[in-house]
Structures are given as structure tokens and as C-alpha cells.
């Protein structure tokens, strides 16, 4: 399969000629966005030191897996799903229940089943369950488009949150689940932050590879065609429904993979991590970074994580308002992007 190296070749050509480079850079939002985010990330990590960088990168890896997998649905297929947090939560809760430590003393009134599996045994179950759930949900949701699809995906996120909060015999409701096991291969436990970061980056690479494979294959071209004109591709004999269902299930499985990682990393989860707002933030990451590019999702996730961490250094901003201030900035960014650049920073597709 040919790899597209045009961007690198163009850059190499431009690097030899400063005058042309300057001409090329003028008004090139894509280039500046890349430079800005990457430069910001490097400067930030140099400033804060290695320990902080590892944590930031781990958070980035989880958000990036989410963004890349959501981009398959939103960017490449054109279905604006606000419900992916449901699959994220499903993965996280499956991982939590399967791997949480049975020896941990549980509240007697809220005893839940425990299994004490290891991370790598539980991960396939997470992914499989999410795939099954996505198949069931997808069969119903497949018929909706545009506004109505957004509405029902909101609905899915809210139903999922209700289940996490209220199905107390399985999820222990608002108390959350403690003592979720770290990943382990034989006797080697991924206890340290660096080891976990490597694991996260490995999974991110895997997810990116799968997305890249999907989007460059003929399957991906059919998805793009569905996004542009569903009826036209049906005329050519492709069942759009089946393709949409397939990409929906794949995306949900990758999302639940991120959920499993997240549960294992924080070792404690409660329903507050899976509220509708998180899902909206996730969609805004994908749109901010750029629709229909894998690189854009990485960029968006990095910008999002840096935005939160960067907020800490704004003078006169009380710490409890950091999340809110970030939300305000994201909201304003979304409005500005929709006005002036509907494809996102480095996107290939306008909403």
C-alpha cells in the first residue's frame, strides 16, 4: 500500500529555500497550528520536567485514542456522534468489575461481583462487550442522520450514564469502584508511570494503525462516499447501512479500549467521569483538531490536554475554575472555528 509522503516531500523542498518557505507559511493556518501545538507541548514539558511530562502524555494517549476512534465516525463517515462516552464508560466499567481487587473491603450494602482477572484477560472482554453493545445500538441508530442522529446519540450517552449511576448492584452507583488492577504480564506489573505511558502509546499506535488501514482501504473510500452522498453510493450497489454499522462497531471497540486503559490507570472510577459533558468535550476535540485526519485528532487531543494544564499558570485564576475556564475557551474556539474554518485546524472535510 503506497504511503502518502507528499507533505514531507513538500516540506523538504521548502526547507531548502527560505523565501519560498516564508511565502508558503503566510496564511497557512494548518502549518501554524502544527507548529504552535507541538512547540507548546515541547516547551511545556521541558519547563515542567520529566515526571509531569509523563502524566500529561498518558492523559494525552487516552484522549488521543478516543479522538482517533471517534474521528472514524464523525470525520470519515459524517455521523456526528455525541454518545461515544457511553462506550468509553462501558469499557471502563467492564475493566473495573473484572479486575478490581476482591480482597478490598467493600461496603456491605453495596457488594458487587468481583472476579480478580488480569488486565490483559479482561481487555478482550471489554472490547467484545462494547462491540456487542455497539452492534445492538447501531442497528437502531443506523437509520438516523444529521440532527436526529445527534439527538439519539445524546440519548445514548444519557441512558448509559443512567445505567452507570443507578444499576447499583453491578456498578456500585455513585460510590464508584476502587482498587482496579494495573496491567501485568507474568510477574512484570506495569506499576510505574513510564511503563504505563509506554503501554498507552503502544495502544495508541495500534489504534492509529487500524484507522490508517481502514481509511486508506477501499472500505474507507466507501465511508467517505457515504459521507458525501449516501444515495449515490447506494446506486453503485454498496449497502450504506452495513458500512456505517461496521465502522460504528469498530469505533466503539477502540473507544472501549481507551476506557479499559483509563480505568486501569486511575484505579478508581465513578459515573462522574462519563457524564454527557465529557462526551461533548470529546466531540469538540475531534472538531477542533480536524475532521477526517488522524493527525488532526492527535493535535486536537494534545491541544486539549495542554489547555487544561496551561490554565494552571494563568495568574489570578482560582484553581477550582480551571475546568470551567477551559470549557469557556473551548466553546469560544468552537464558535470561531465554525465561522471561519469549519474543517478544524488541519481537517480535510467541512461539516
Amino acid at each position: 500500500m503506497p504511503v502518502n509522503l507528499d507533505g514531507i516531500r513538500t516540506f523538504a523542498r521548502l526547507a531548502q529555500n527560505p523565501a519560498e518557505l516564508a511565502r508558503h507559511a503566510r496564511g497557512n493556518i494548518e502549518l501554524w497550528a502544527n507548529l504552535f501545538v507541538i512547540g507548546w507541548a515541547i516547551a511545556f514539558m521541558l519547563w515542567q520536567g520529566a515526571g509531569f511530562a509523563v502524566i500529561v502524555l498518558t492523559v494525552f494517549a487516552i484522549w488521543a485514542i478516543l479522538a482517533v476512534s471517534l474521528n472514524l465516525v464523525v470525520g470519515f463517515t459524517g455521523l456526528l456522534s455525541v454518545g461515544h462516552i457511553g462506550f468509553f464508560g462501558l469499557g471502563a466499567y467492564t475493566m473495573a468489575i473484572l479486575t478490581s481487587d476482591p480482597a478490598y473491603e467493600q461496603l456491605r450494602t453495596e457488594a458487587i461481583p468481583t472476579f480478580g482477572w488480569t488486565f490483559f484477560a479482561a481487555l478482550p472482554v471489554c472490547i467484545g462487550l462494547a462491540g456487542l453493545a455497539a452492534l445492538l445500538v447501531g442497528v437502531v441508530f443506523n437509520r438516523f442522520r444529521d440532527d436526529i442522529f445527534v439527538l439519539v446519540s445524546f440519548g445514548f450517552a444519557i441512558i448509559a450514564f443512567n445505567v452507570f449511576l443507578n444499576l447499583r448492584s453491578v456498578t456500585r452507583g455513585a460510590f464508584g469502584i476502587h482498587e482496579i488492577a494495573r496491567p501485568q504480564i507474568g510477574n512484570w506489573v506495569f506499576d510505574g508511570e513510564v511503563e504505563f505511558l509506554l503501554l498507552g502509546l503502544a495502544f495508541l499506535a495500534l489504534v492509529m494503525l487500524i484507522s490508517w488501514f481502514i481509511t486508506t482501504s477501499s472500505f474507507g473510500r466507501v465511508l467517505t462516499a457515504i459521507r458525501e452522498d449516501e444515495q449515490a453510493i447506494e446506486v453503485f450497489g454498496y449497502r450504506a447501512t452495513h458500512f456505517k454499522l461496521a465502522v460504528w462497531v469498530i469505533s466503539a471497540m477502540m473507544t472501549s479500549l481507551a476506557g479499559g486503559l483509563f480505568a486501569s490507570w486511575t484505579s478508581f472510577i465513578d459515573p462522574n467521569s462519563f457524564i454527557l459533558l465529557e462526551s461533548v468535550l470529546l466531540v469538540s476535540i475531534v472538531i477542533l483538531g480536524g475532521l477526517a485526519t488522524i493527525w488532526g485528532s492527535l493535535l486536537g487531543a494534545m491541544a486539549f490536554v495542554l489547555l487544561e494544564e496551561g490554565m494552571r499558570f494563568i495568574p489570578y485564576l482560582p484553581t477550582e475554575y480551571i475546568g470551567q475556564a477551559r470549557q469557556v475557551i473551548l466553546g469560544i474556539l468552537l464558535v470561531l472555528l465554525m465561522l471561519f474554518r469549519p474543517q478544524g485546524l488541519v481537517g480535510r472535510y467541512r461539516l
Binding site: D146, D147, L151, G155, I158, S284, G323, P342
Partner: protein
């Protein structure tokens, strides 16, 4: 964008699988049978649930009315609508929580007051200019007109700021506005009547003749208000509804107009308004903090006892507000020229522009009215339960579900759908716990979209 309205709505066709209608009928029969069985088991409890359903349904109906008005005019999904509900409710909280009224949090801040003053003066400047410009064209120079409009708008903004800065004395600061509004309404009514009775007299002369008694009556109303500190709560309802409407108008005129010219699909508008919703929800947390807040009891909290069911007076009032809102909307849409213009824009915006409807003004009014309905629904919810910064999105979604259940774009469907949604939610949580009611609402939505995509009362 108006041309491909059917696309924009994205409503699916009925499933083409044989037996779908049979399945739908079976589901309906099951649901109705379940409800009938439950009613037979415990009639007083059923009455209680039915009443709760109507009380919640009133709020949903109000939301659905405003939502349907906006959605069936511009055909994009405006998420600011949810923020308007939250703004309305928190506006009442803002105005009614002096330390002297017994609240620990005093959110009153100069930034908020200045911000809303600026919004009001911006909106007033545009409105005054739009109203006055055609009437005074040729009589005054544009510079004089502009200076006058700016002066008036700034004065209005400053007045709003003062009203917001002195929430404990709202009955004093607003008496001027109420007096002026009363006088204005009386003059307009007299003009209407006289024009119908004696068409030969010039309207100006009638207005002059009516001005003196109207001014007296207005002054009397304003004076009455100064002695009634208890009216502060009801005045704060009006103020926060108006403010939510003003923000909607400012957003429309300052942002959506430009965006709609460029937007290729309704999703762009949706995402942009999602950004606005995110920003407003976060700002609400910054001003009011994230803990749930309660509004003071409007009519006392002792419930009435009717046939074993306990009924709060405020809930009856909420149902009354919903019905009044429906009548008002019905009048506005079916009997006035404004309503005809709204329906024309909903059918085809380009053609309405061609035949001479000022679409910008009409849509601006639609946004204003819609946001006022949302704000009123938010206030009713706030009095009934509690305020939460995230309440807006959920209320908006409920309004959307109600209008889908009733039939998108249908006025009668909106109020019917609201009450149906409320009743289904309440009967649904009879056997489940109360926390599941959001899930029930969305299951109802998915069932309706799958089996009755056009709702109970389809649009024409």
C-alpha cells in the same frame, strides 16, 4: 439551506419491514394495558402519578412550544435554547438572593451587571434602529437618528445594570419601567380600538388624546408597585425572561446571521451553538458555583389533598402557564400577520425574502420569543426542584423529545407531546426508581423515531 429542509430534518422514513405496524400497535397496546392495570391496582396513587406527570409535562410542553417555533422556522437545532432555560432560572436566583433575604451566597457582581447592561444596550440599539429608521427616513438626518438611538440604547443598558445591581429594591427600580409599559400598552390598545371604530381620525391625534389618562394610569401602577416588595419575585421572572431573550437576539443578530450565510449544513450551526452552550454553562458555574441551588417557594409549599393525591399549588400554576403559553403562541402564529410571515419563512426562506418579508427581523423575534419560553420553563423547573448548572442541556433535550413525540413543527403536537412525555416518565418510574426517568424519556424518543417518526400529530 432552506431548500433542502427535508434533508436537514433527517427524519427517517418508517421502517420497511413487514409487521412494523403490527409491532407498533402491539407496543402501544402493551403500554396502555400496563398503565390501565396499574391504575386499576391503586387508583389514588395513579392519580398522584398522573398529576405529577401533568406538572412535569407542563414544563416540557412550554419547552416544546418554544423549541418548535424556533426549529420549524430556521430548521437548525439551536442549543442555546437550553442555555436560555438555565439563564432564566439562574436569573431569578441572581435577583432573589440578597443576604437580607436569607441566602448565604451573594452572586451579585459588577461584571455580570455590566455584561447584561451591554447586551441589552446592543440589542436595544439594533431594535430601535430597525423600528425608527423607516419611519423617520427623510425627516431627520441619519446622524441625528444614529446619535439618538445610541443615546437611548446606552440609557437602557445603564438602567438594566442598575436594576441588576439592586436586587433587593427591584420593585422600586422597575416601577418606572412597569409604568411606562402600562402606558404604552394602553395607548396602543386605544389606537387599535379607535382605528376600528372611527377610521377617519388620524392615529397621532388618538395617541395624543389617550396619552394623559394612560400616563396617569401608568404612574398609578408604578406607584402601587413601589409599595409592594413581595412583587419582587414575579418581577424577577419577567426580568430574567427578558434577559434570556435579549441574549438570544444578540446571538442571532451578532453571530447566526453571518453563520447562516456561509453554513453548508445545519450541523455547523449545531456545533457552533454547542460551543455557546458549553461556554454559558461554564460561566454559570463560575458565577454561581456548581452546587445545586434552590429558589424560594413561590406560593407556599402546603399541598392540597384531592382524593388521596397531594397537589402543590405551584404545579397547578405551572400547568396554567403552559396552557397560557400555548394560547399566546396560537394567537401569535394563527391570527397575526407575524405568524403568517413565520410560517412562510419556515416553508421557504428564499421565497419569503423575495416577496418582501424582512426575514432578519422576523427570525430575530422568533429567537426572542423562543428563548423567553425556554427561560420560563427553566424558572418553573427551578421553583419545582432545584437549579443545577447542567440543567440546560437536559431541559433542551426534553423539549426536543416532546416536540418529536408530538410531531416536529406542529403547535398542537408540541403541547400534546409535552404532556405525553411527562405522563410516560411518571408512569414509567412507578415500578422503577425515580432516577431512571431520563433513560425512560430517551427510550420513548427512540421508539417514536423508529415507529412513528412523524409524531402523534404530523405537520400538515
Amino acid at each position: 439551506m432552506a431548500g433542502n429542509r427535508e434533508n436537514a430534518r433527517g427524519l427517517p422514513r418508517l421502517i420497511n419491514v413487514p409487521g412494523t405496524r403490527l409491532l407498533a400497535a402491539l407496543l402501544t397496546a402493551l403500554a396502555l394495558g400496563y398503565i390501565a392495570w396499574k391504575i386499576g391496582q391503586a387508583p389514588p396513587q395513579a392519580l398522584q402519578f398522573a398529576f405529577n406527570g401533568l406538572a412535569v409535562g407542563a414544563v416540557y410542553a412550554l419547552l416544546a412550544l418554544g423549541f418548535t417555533l424556533v426549529y420549524s422556522t430556521v430548521w437548525f437545532f439551536d442549543l442555546y435554547y437550553g442555555a436560555a432555560a438555565a439563564l432564566g432560572a439562574y436569573g431569578v436566583f441572581y435577583l432573589r438572593t440578597d443576604p437580607s433575604l436569607g441566602s448565604r451566597l451573594d452572586p451579585n457582581s459588577i461584571y455580570v451587571n455590566v455584561f447584561f447592561g451591554a447586551v441589552v444596550s446592543g440589542v436595544a440599539a439594533w431594535t430601535l434602529h430597525t423600528v425608527l429608521e423607516p419611519r423617520l427616513r427623510g425627516r431627520t438626518s441619519p446622524e441625528v437618528l444614529r446619535a439618538g438611538v445610541i443615546l437611548l440604547a446606552v440609557a437602557l443598558g445603564a438602567y438594566t445594570g442598575i436594576v441588576l445591581a439592586l436586587p433587593a429594591h427591584i420593585h422600586l427600580t422597575l416601577s418606572l419601567a412597569v409604568g411606562l409599559a402600562t402606558a404604552g400598552v394602553i395607548i396602543a390598545a386605544v389606537q387599535r380600538f379607535a382605528a376600528a371604530l372611527v377610521p377617519t381620525i388620524s392615529p397621532t391625534r388618538i395617541a395624543l388624546a389617550a396619552a394623559v389618562p394612560a400616563a396617569l394610569l401608568g404612574a398609578w401602577c408604578g406607584y402601587l408597585l413601589t409599595g409592594a416588595p413581595g412583587a419582587g419575585l414575579y418581577l424577577s421572572w419577567g426580568v430574567s425572561c427578558l434577559l434570556a431573550g435579549c441574549v438570544a437576539l444578540a446571538l442571532y443578530r451578532g453571530l447566526y446571521v453571518y453563520m447562516r450565510e456561509r453554513a453548508r449544513s445545519p450541523l455547523i450551526m449545531l456545533v457552533a451553538s454547542l460551543g455557546i452552550l458549553l461556554a454559558i454553562a461554564a460561566l454559570i458555574v463560575i458565577v454561581f458555583q456548581s452546587a445545586p441551588r434552590a429558589l424560594p417557594d413561590a406560593f407556599g409549599s402546603t399541598p392540597w389533598n384531592i382524593a388521596g393525591a397531594r397537589i402543590k399549588g405551584f404545579n397547578v400554576f405551572a400547568i396554567g402557564v403552559a396552557l397560557a403559553g400555548f394560547v399566546g403562541m396560537w394567537y401569535l402564529l394563527k391570527l397575526t400577520s407575524f405568524g403568517r410571515a413565520v410560517r412562510a419563512i419556515g416553508d421557504d426562506e428564499e421565497v419569503s425574502k423575495v416577496v418582501g418579508i424582512n426575514t432578519t427581523v422576523i427570525i430575530a423575534v422568533v429567537f426572542f420569543v423562543g428563548a423567553m419560553y425556554a427561560a420560563m420553563a427553566g424558572i418553573l423547573t427551578g421553583h419545582d426542584t432545584a437549579l443545577q448548572p447542567r440543567m440546560g442541556l437536559l431541559l433542551l433535550l426534553k423539549g426536543w423529545i416532546a416536540s418529536v413525540v408530538g410531531g416536529i413543527g406542529n403547535l398542537y403536537g408540541a403541547i400534546l407531546g409535552g404532556f405525553v412525555l411527562g405522563l410516560v416518565e411518571q408512569f414509567g418510574i412507578w415500578d422503577l426508581a425515580g432516577e431512571w426517568k431520563d433513560a425512560i424519556a430517551f427510550v420513548l424518543l427512540i421508539l417514536f423515531l423508529s415507529f412513528w417518526p412523524k409524531g402523534l400529530l404530523p405537520r400538515r
